[in-house]
C-alpha cells in the first residue's frame, strides 16, 4: 500500500468518525440540556446559565411536573388506550389480512384499494368533518370514542399482516381444512400463533404512534380527567410557559417509557421499521 493510499484511508476514517460524533452531539444536545435544566431548583434555574451544571441533583421538578400535569392519571389513561387500541388493531388487522390474502372473492381488490386510498387522505385535514361526526355519535370526551378513532384510522397493521400472511404457505391452511378444521379454527388455532413476529412489529409501531398521539387526543379528550401522557404536556403552555425547569422535567417523564422500550427492544424496533417499509 502506498503512502498516499494510507493517508487517504486515515482521512476517510477521521472524517467518518468526526461526522458521526457531530451527528450524535446534535441529536443529544437538545435532550441533554433538557436533563440538565430539569435537575435545577427554581432559584438555580433563574441564577445560572443553561450550560452550568446544577450544584446538586434535585428531583423536585419531576415531582412538581407530575402533580401539575396530572401525569398519574395520564399514564393510567394512556395505558387503557394502548391496551384497547393494540388489541383491537391486531385483531382487526390480522383478521382482515387473513381474508384478503387467503380468499378470492368479489370485492377483494376493492377493499384493498379502499384502505390504500385511505392512507393517502391527509389525517389532520379530515379532523374537521370527523369532529362533527364524533359529536353526533356522542363520542367526544370518551375514552372508547378516542380508541375507536385510533383503531379506525389504522392501515399500517393491515399491511404488515397481509405481507406476513403471504409468506405462510397456504398448504398449511389446506391440510388443516382436510383434517376437518373450520376457517375460524384455521385462523385462530393455526395461523394466529404463527403471526407472533408480525404482532410484535405491529405492537411496537402502533404502540409508539399511539403513545405519542396528541392532536386527536387534544381534540376529542378535552375533559381534564381524560388527559393522556402526550396531552398532559399541554399543561405547560400558557402561564407556566417559561418555567423550563419544570417543563423539561415533564417532557422527560413523557419520554422515559419510549426510551426504556428503545433500550430493551432496539433490535425489534429497527427490524419492525424496515420490515414495515423496505420489503413492504
Amino acid at each position: 500500500m502506498t503512502f498516499i493510499q494510507k493517508t487517504n484511508r486515515y482521512l476517510v476514517k477521521i472524517l467518518k468518525y468526526f461526522s458521526l460524533i457531530l451527528a450524535t452531539l446534535i441529536a443529544f444536545i437538545p435532550i441533554v440540556s433538557c436533563i440538565n435544566t430539569a435537575m435545577k431548583s427554581k432559584e438555580e434555574y433563574i441564577s445560572t446559565t443553561i450550560m452550568e451544571l446544577p450544584s446538586k441533583l434535585n428531583f423536585s421538578n419531576f415531582y412538581d411536573a407530575w402533580e401539575r400535569a396530572n401525569m398519574g392519571r395520564a399514564f393510567m389513561n394512556t395505558s387503557i388506550v394502548l391496551a384497547f387500541v393494540l388489541t383491537g388493531s391486531i385483531l382487526i388487522g390480522s383478521m382482515l389480512a387473513y381474508v384478503l390474502s387467503r380468499f378470492v372473492f368479489h370485492g377483494n381488490g376493492f377493499i384493498r384499494l379502499l384502505f390504500l386510498v385511505a392512507a393517502l387522505l391527509p389525517g389532520v385535514a379530515m379532523q374537521v368533518p370527523t369532529y362533527k361526526i364524533m359529536v353526533s355519535l356522542g363520542l367526544i370526551n370518551s375514552l372508547p370514542g378516542y380508541i375507536l378513532v385510533m383503531m379506525g384510522t389504522d392501515v399500517i397493521s393491515i399491511y404488515i399482516f397481509i405481507q406476513f400472511f403471504e409468506n405462510i404457505p397456504i398448504s398449511l391452511d389446506e391440510s388443516a381444512i382436510m383434517d376437518g378444521c373450520t376457517y375460524f379454527g384455521v385462523f385462530f388455532r393455526i395461523l394466529f400463533p404463527l403471526l407472533k413476529p408480525a404482532i410484535i412489529t405491529c405492537m411496537i409501531l402502533k404502540g409508539v404512534a399511539t403513545y405519542n398521539e396528541y392532536y386527536m387526543a387534544h381534540l376529542y379528550l378535552q375533559r381534564k380527567s381524560l388527559v393522556t401522557v402526550a396531552t398532559s404536556l399541554y399543561t405547560f403552555t400558557g402561564p407556566l410557559g417559561n418555567q423550563y425547569n419544570m417543563i423539561c422535567a415533564g417532557v422527560l417523564i413523557s419520554i422515559l417509557p419510549a426510551f426504556l422500550i428503545f433500550v430493551f427492544c432496539q433490535k425489534q424496533i429497527y427490524s419492525g421499521l424496515t420490515s414495515g417499509a423496505v420489503k413492504g
Binding site: S19, L20, A23, A27, F28, I29, I31, S33, C34, I50, I92, G93, V99, G107, I111, L114, F115, L116, A118, A119, L120, L121, P122, V124, A125, M126, V128, P129, Y131, K132, I133, G152, V155, I156, Y159, Y183, N212, Y214, Y215, A230, L233, Y234, F236, Y244, I247, C248, G250, V251, S254, I255, A258, F259, F262, I269, Y270, L273, T274, G276, A277, V278
Partner: protein, 330 residues
C-alpha cells in the same frame, strides 16, 4: 358475497345446506372478518371525506346555518394571500427533507461498514424519532429561546449573542429553525430504513467488489446505490408530499406565528379560530388531497419508466408509501 349467495340459491340448495359447504363457510368468514374493519373505515375515513367535500361548497361554521356558495372557497384558496404564502412555505420543508435524505444516506452508508460503536451512533441518531411531537415542540422552544441552548452553544463556539438572530421570531430564519427540528426528528428514521435496505444487499457482492479492488466510493456507487434506488426515490416522493402537508413543527413550536403557518396549520386555524371558516378549510384539504394524489400517480408512472418494473414491485412501493404516509402522527 351477494353474488356467491345468488349463485348458490340458483342451485336450489337450501340456505342451511349451503352454509355447510366450503363456499358457504368462506362467505361467512369473509363477512364476519371484514365487517368491523370496513365499518370503522367508513365511519372515520370515507364518511368524513364525503362530508369534507360537501362542506367545501358552503360558507359555514361548526354549528349554525350554512350557505351554498359553489366554488367560491376553491377560488379563494388561489386568491387569498395567506393560503398562497402557506403553500410557498412547503419549499423550506422540501429543501429540509432533501438535506435529511442525503444526510441519512451518508450516515447509513457509513454505519453499514464496520464501525466502532456503530450501534451506539445508530441508536443516538435514531432515538429522536420516538419522541412525541408535542414533547419535541417543548424541547425546541427551549432550545431556540434567546440566550438558551442554541445561543449558549454558539457562544461557546465564539459567536457574540448580539449578533445572533431570534431563531423563532426573525422571519428570515424562523422557518429554517422549524425545518431543522423536523430533520432532527426524522433523519434517524430514514437512516434506519436505508441501513435495512443496504443490509439486504447480498454480502457476496461486497466481497467480490473488494477482491476486485473497489474502494468504498466505488462500492457505494456501483453496489449500494443501485440496490437501494427504489427506496431512495420513494423517499424523495414522500419528501414532496410530506413537505406539502408539513404540520407539526409550526403547530407545536410557534403556533404558526411570525409567518410560519404552513398550509395545514393555516387550515387548522381557519377551521377552529375566529369565524370558523369550516368550508374554506375543507376546500383546502380537498385541494391538497388532489395534489397528493396527482404526485402519487406521477410516482407510479415514474417508477414504471425508470425501472420498468412490473406490477409486483409497484405493489411494494404503494405499501411503503402508505406506511410512510401514516407515520408521523398526522
Amino acid at each position: 358475497m351477494n353474488v356467491l349467495a345468488q349463485k348458490n340459491m340458483k342451485k336450489k340448495k337450501s340456505f342451511r345446506e349451503w352454509i355447510k359447504t366450503r363456499k358457504g363457510q368462506q362467505a361467512i368468514i369473509i363477512i364476519t372478518f371484514t365487517f368491523i374493519p370496513l365499518l370503522l373505515l367508513f365511519t372515520f375515513t370515507y364518511l368524513p371525506f364525503g362530508k369534507m367535500v360537501e362542506f367545501s361548497f358552503f360558507r359555514m361554521k361548526y354549528t349554525g346555518p350554512r350557505n351554498f356558495i359553489g366554488f367560491k372557497n376553491y377560488l379563494d384558496i388561489f386568491t387569498r394571500e395567506d393560503t398562497l404564502n402557506a403553500l410557498k412555505l412547503s419549499v423550506y420543508y422540501l429543501i429540509g427533507a432533501i438535506v435529511q435524505l442525503v444526510a441519512a444516506l451518508y450516515f447509513a452508508t457509513m454505519l453499514s461498514f464496520k464501525t466502532r460503536g456503530g450501534n451506539f451512533f445508530k441508536g443516538a441518531i435514531f432515538f429522536p424519532y420516538l419522541i412525541s411531537g408535542i414533547a419535541i415542540g417543548f424541547i425546541f422552544k427551549f432550545f431556540y429561546t434567546r440566550g438558551f441552548v442554541l445561543d449558549s452553544v454558539l457562544q461557546l463556539l465564539g459567536f457574540e449573542l448580539e449578533n445572533l438572530p431570534y431563531w423563532l421570531k426573525n422571519t428570515a430564519i424562523n422557518n429554517w429553525s422549524l425545518v431543522f427540528s423536523s430533520v432532527w426528528r426524522y433523519m434517524g428514521q430514514n437512516m434506519v430504513l436505508f441501513i435495512g435496505a443496504i443490509m439486504s444487499v447480498d454480502v457476496e457482492q461486497y466481497e467480490a467488489a473488494k477482491l476486485d479492488g473497489a474502494n468504498k466510493m466505488q462500492q457505494f456507487k456501483y453496489i449500494i446505490l443501485p440496490s437501494i434506488k427504489t427506496i431512495v426515490l420513494l423517499n424523495l416522493i414522500l419528501a414532496v408530499t410530506g413537505s406539502l402537508s408539513a404540520f407539526e413543527p409550526p403547530y407545536v413550536i410557534t403556533k404558526g406565528s411570525n409567518g410560519t403557518a404552513t398550509y395545514f396549520v393555516l387550515m387548522d386555524q381557519l377551521a377552529h379560530e375566529g369565524v370558523q371558516k369550516v368550508g374554506l378549510a375543507s376546500a383546502m384539504a380537498v385541494v391538497l388531497l388532489f395534489i397528493i394524489l396527482i404526485i402519487t400517480g406521477f410516482q407510479k408512472m415514474g417508477f414504471k419508466i425508470l425501472f420498468n418494473e412490473g406490477d409486483a414491485d409497484n405493489g411494494k412501493c404503494k405499501k411503503t408509501l402508505i406506511k410512510s404516509f401514516t407515520k408521523g402522527g398526522k
